[in-house]
């Protein structure tokens, strides 16, 4: 696997600079950037010329990851040439007729099943029900095919997210790339480590991923009460208090974060299902625990491939973590680096939701507020 990573900023352009000669050996161009930069057509044309044979796979973010750097308003591009692995990708647009489940189903069905090992999914971050998307994928893929990925971000704006599989980045799009090849080693893990606090509340009114009431009272009011002055920053500030959701018959709980707020309906839309009758508790962050969570995810994925430094690591971490960690955000990336080692090329982004099993071999689910790591190696 040959990997080349470049970052573009408005001030400095490409670093390192793009070579004048076209590189025809690159198979996959993985890129993450802020929404407004992805909108620049010229930039895309430029890259297309530099890597004429590469498939383009990327999305808008709430922060780009390149090595141990976390940046905003940049374009991070990772050019990958596989030694033996193959890829196949696809995208679908969400519409009235294609809902999140259907999108997952269509993507799964468009991938060649023979030899398929792993699917990386990048999805629109605002118009999707991540839980439904995951169901559409898992129900239509063989159980041994693992899935990881994330929901595209839009800084702390929550206005528009873009996803790209070849062509130009588009909104309301979900893209997936399938990885094929016996020699490919794939590891993944997801860990959040937020702390629940306060009373357990019953979800008394909800529909899909839209939450109306907790314990018979407006959920939005509860959030506003807890946020105080910061309520003005909704929906972004809602990420400061994710919800821990435990269904009646389940011992484990999932974390859900807010995607949008509807003042008229007094509702909040979450990245995944908030099933009625389940129990919800507010969660809060603790810096050290968040960083330990990222290290935990790194350790699990590292061990999953046999405890050696992988060639590539894709880090998808939740925007909620970045909003809490702020200046300390890079500490979680450095924690990951300490585990994976200096040789590993790291890329990724801050997302509106993460897709991954908690542990290797588990069932893929939508997570929020986690660090989700996918490691790849052909060695």
């Amino acid at each position: 696997m040959r990997i080349d990573q470049k970052i573009w900023t408005e001030e400095k352009g490409w670093l390192p600079e793009l070579s004048g000669r076209a590189d025809e050996t690159v198979h996959l161009l993985l890129f993450f950037g802020s929404t407004h930069i992805l909108r620049r057509r010229i930039l895309c044309e430029e890259i297309k010329k530099a890597y004429p044979n590469a498939h383009f796979f990327g999305c808008s973010t709430a922060g780009e990851i390149a090595g141990t750097q976390v940046t905003d308003n940049t374009f991070v591009m990772t050019a990958i040439s596989f030694e033996s692995a193959r890829i196949q990708g696809a995208k679908v647009e969400l519409s009235q007729t294609v809902d999140s489940y259907r999108a997952g189903q269509l993507l799964a069905q468009s991938l060649e099943t023979n030899g398929l090992r792993h699917v990386i999914v990048l999805s629109d971050g605002l118009c999707v029900n991540g839980s439904d998307l995951v169901r559409g994928l898992t129900e239509n893929l063989a159980s041994e095919v693992s899935i990881t990925g994330g929901l595209a971000g839009d800084g702390e704006r929550f206005e528009e997210t873009l996803v790209c599989w070849d062509g130009h980045p588009q909104n309301k799009t979900v893209a997936a790339v399938g990885l094929y090849g016996d020699k490919l080693r794939i590891g993944y893990a997801s860990q959040g480590d937020w702390d629940s606090f306060g009373p357990e509340r019953v979800i008394t009114k909800a529909k899909g991923n839209i939450l109306y009431e907790l314990d018979g009272k407006s959920a939005l009011d509860l959030y506003k009460l807890y946020l105080g002055e910061q309520a003005a920053g909704l929906p972004a500030t809602g990420l400061l208090f994710p919800l821990s959701i435990r269904t009646k018959d389940s011992q484990t709980s999932l974390v859900r974060t807010i995607l949008s707020v509807n003042e008229e309906e007094q509702s909040m839309t979450f990245a995944g299902d908030v099933p009625g009758g389940s129990y919800a508790r507010l969660m809060k962050a603790n810096f050290d625990r968040l960083i330990d969570g990222a290290i935990g995810a790194a350790t699990k994925s590292y061990e999953a491939i046999g405890s050696f430094s992988p060639e590539l690591a894709i880090l998808i971490s939740c925007v909620g973590r970045k909003m809490i960690l702020k200046q300390r955000t890079e500490e979680e990336i450095e924690g990951v680096r300490d585990i994976l080692g200096e040789k590993t090329v790291m890329t990724g982004f801050y997302s509106y939701g993460e897709l991954s099993p908690f542990n290797q071999g588990g069932i893929c689910a939508l997570h929020n507020q986690t660090m989700t790591i996918t490691v790849l190696s052909e060695k």
Partner: protein, 642 residues
């Protein structure tokens, strides 16, 4: 730079001079530090706010929980059920006061929450503690099971017990036991059931239950071809008693009557059950002064009349009520199944009709529904009555029929035969009155009179100087089964001075048909005294030849029916030959009875019969005539006396 964090501003002021201005290269880091200060404040404020809010929320929740707890406690305390909650290991978690009261659990046990002491205290009170402890163990093994049963206490109380798991969400964490005292309810149910089937005044079955039992009895009788009798009683002039002494007094009479009826019937049942199948007799009160009795142990229809007579007799004694002696009689009607009806209503109606006839005929006696039964019973009763008189007045006489040696023609013995010298009907043979005497129990005095008289007579002949012969006396099965039979025989021999070898007891084959150990013992003991034993009417019954070998018998008497047809019927000849050869091989004597013709005599002689008895040689004769016969024989065979 604007918006510098107050702490940072103060630090700058304190540690650097007012006039100090940041070099350009440090301005970015200063900005980052300032932002971190500000952010830290924001984070801390938010955290404090959220902690404050959630503790307020938890406080509210706590208050609500306290309200719910108090509501629950009040509810649990106000229920009339005893409630106990234990955890999965049986440790006492909670209980209400009612529980402690119901189970009389001492406070030192319940306060110490000592579950094993509490369990012991519970077990001590139960009638079947082992069943309860088994149930408890079963439930510990199945924490999810629900169960219900009844607990019976030694002191008579009855509790309903429910037990169901205590769950938190889906998880089972303990068990709730609740106990409900249903003693009063159970008693009431029993009372209601009793009232539905039993008469409240007398506690006897009521009309409903009687009809039900009668119906069952009819089904049974139909299947097994049994007889039934329904006795319908009505107290005579009971209305007058009621009018004179009042209803309370009347009620007491009814209670006393039912008491007498029941006791008497119970006696009948106990007697009949020795041989019967234990089918219960039912006494019921239909209402007013009407009682009914269902008899199920009838061998023949006239058995019912004996019970009826016994009931009439029950009323011969006065009733002692409230210091008064009250004489009251009853009229009884009887209907028989299957002759007088084959269903409940017909039988009851006909018994009722018969009862009215009894009343018409002058009260204090009983009537069958069918006339021929009445006649039969009437005859039987007059016979029984005169038989009783005869026993008193010694209207009996013994006749004697000699038995001859078949080869020598000499008298070897004599059979004593009873005759009743009836004042109106003349001389009656035993067939006509012995069965009645057996039924009425008169057989006992008659039987011992016969034995004594026969022994005395035989001894008299010996004293007169005639050569000694044995006298044969017929013994009824009822006599034989009497406990003191052996003693009475021995006493009679002692009293009369007759030596035992000169007495032969003649038993019917029926006694030996299914001999019990007692039969063997009695016979052996009799034999040991030296008395001879003969079997009468041999060949008629179905004696087991196997028994015959074991019985200490001296003589077999061939039944007269075989002898009668011995010439014309080859089958009878074969039987007689078989009996003779059987007797020979068992070393028994054979006597042929009822010999009437010379042909019969010579055939029997040919076959080797030992003794001959019959009209051909001599009919039964009076003692005087027999003395003459002996004298004649003495003259014929004088050498016997030398």
């Amino acid at each position: 730079m604007e918006n510098i964090h107050s702490l940072l501003k103060r630090q700058l002021k304190k540690l650097l001079s007012d006039s100090y201005s940041l070099p350009k290269e440090l301005q970015e880091i200063f900005k980052a530090i300032n932002n971190a200060y500000i952010q830290s404040d924001i984070d801390r404020n938010m955290l404090e706010r959220s902690l404050d809010l959630s503790s307020q929320e938890l406080l509210t929740t706590n208050t609500e929980l306290q309200k719910i707890l108090s509501l629950l406690n009040a509810t649990i305390e106000s229920t009339r059920d005893g409630i106990l909650v234990v955890d999965l290991t049986g440790k006492i978690i909670s209980f209400n006061t009612k529980f402690v009261d119901m189970w009389h659990i001492p406070s030192y046990i319940i306060n110490s929450r000592d579950d094993s002491a509490a369990l012991n205290c519970v077990l001590d009170q139960l009638s079947e503690p082992e069943i309860f402890i088994k149930k408890v163990q079963e439930l510990y093994a199945q924490p999810d099971a629900e169960s219900y049963d009844l607990l019976q206490f030694k002191d008579g109380r009855i509790f309903e017990r429910y037990s169901r798991p205590q769950r938190i969400e889906e998880k089972c964490v303990g068990r709730v036991w609740s106990f409900h005292d249903i003693t009063i309810q159970k008693r009431a149910e029993e009372q209601i059931a009793q009232m539905a089937y039993f008469d409240v005044l007398t506690n006897l079955p009521n009309r409903y239950l009687f009809k039900d039992r009668l119906n069952q009895a009819i089904l049974y009788a139909e299947k097994y071809k049994k007889l039934l009798a329904i006795i319908y009683l009505d107290l005579d002039e009971f209305k007058r008693v009621n009018d004179t002494f009042g209803h309370n007094f009347g009620d007491k009479i009814l209670q006393a009557v039912s008491d007498r009826l029941e006791k008497s019937i119970r006696k009948i049942d106990t007697l009949s059950r020795i041989e019967g199948e234990g089918l219960e007799t039912t006494v019921a009160r239909l209402g007013g002064d009407e009682f009914t009795i269902l008899l199920r142990e009838l061998k023949e229809n006239k058995d019912a009349s004996r019970v009826a007579q016994r009931i009439v007799d029950l009323f011969s004694q006065p009733f002692h009520i409230e210091n008064r002696l009250i004489f009251i009689t009853t009229s009884i009607g009887m209907a028989l199944y299957p002759n007088d009806g084959q269903d409940v209503d017909t039988l009851l109606k006909n018994a009722d009709t018969a009862m009215y006839h009894a009343k018409e005929k002058g009260r204090n006696h009983f009537q069958f529904f069918s006339e021929h039964m009445n006649i039969e019973v009437l005859e039987r009763f007059s016979m029984e009555n005169s038989l009783r008189n005869a026993a008193d007045k010694k209207d009996f006489q013994l006749y004697y029929q000699p038995q001859f040696d078949s080869s020598t023609g000499r008298i070897i013995g004599v059979e004593a035969l009873i005759r009743w010298m009836h004042p109106e009907k003349g001389m009656l043979l035993p067939d006509t009155f012995i069965p009645i005497s057996e039924d009425s129990g008169l057989i006992m005095p008659i039987g011992s009179w016969v034995l004594r008289t026969a022994c005395e007579q035989n001894k008299a002949w010996q004293i007169e100087g005639f050569p000694p012969i044995y006298v044969t006396v017929n013994i009824s099965g009822i006599q034989f089964r009497q406990k003191n039979f052996l003693e009475s025989v021995a006493q009679t021999l002692l009293d009369t001075g007759l030596e035992p070898q000169y007495l032969e007891l003649e038993l019917t084959e029926s006694i030996l048909m299914e001999p019990t150990e007692t039969t063997f013992n009695t016979l052996n003991e009799l034999k040991a005294t030296g008395v001879r034993i003969a079997i009468d009417d041999f060949g008629k019954g179905y004696s087991s030849l196997g028994y015959l070998k074991r019985l200490p018998i001296d003589t077999l008497k061939i039944d007269r029916s075989f002898v009668h047809d011995i010439i014309s019927n080859p089958d009878d000849r074969a039987i007689v030959r078989a009996i003779i050869s059987l007797a020979r091989s068992l070393n028994l004597k054979v006597i042929a009875e009822g010999v009437e013709t010379h042909e019969q005599l010579s055939y029997l002689q040919e076959q080797g019969t030992d003794g001959i008895q019959g009209f051909l040689l001599s009919e039964p004769i009076t003692p005087n005539s027999f003395t003459q016969l002996l004298k004649k024989e003495w003259q014929l065979h004088p050498h016997k006396f030398t």
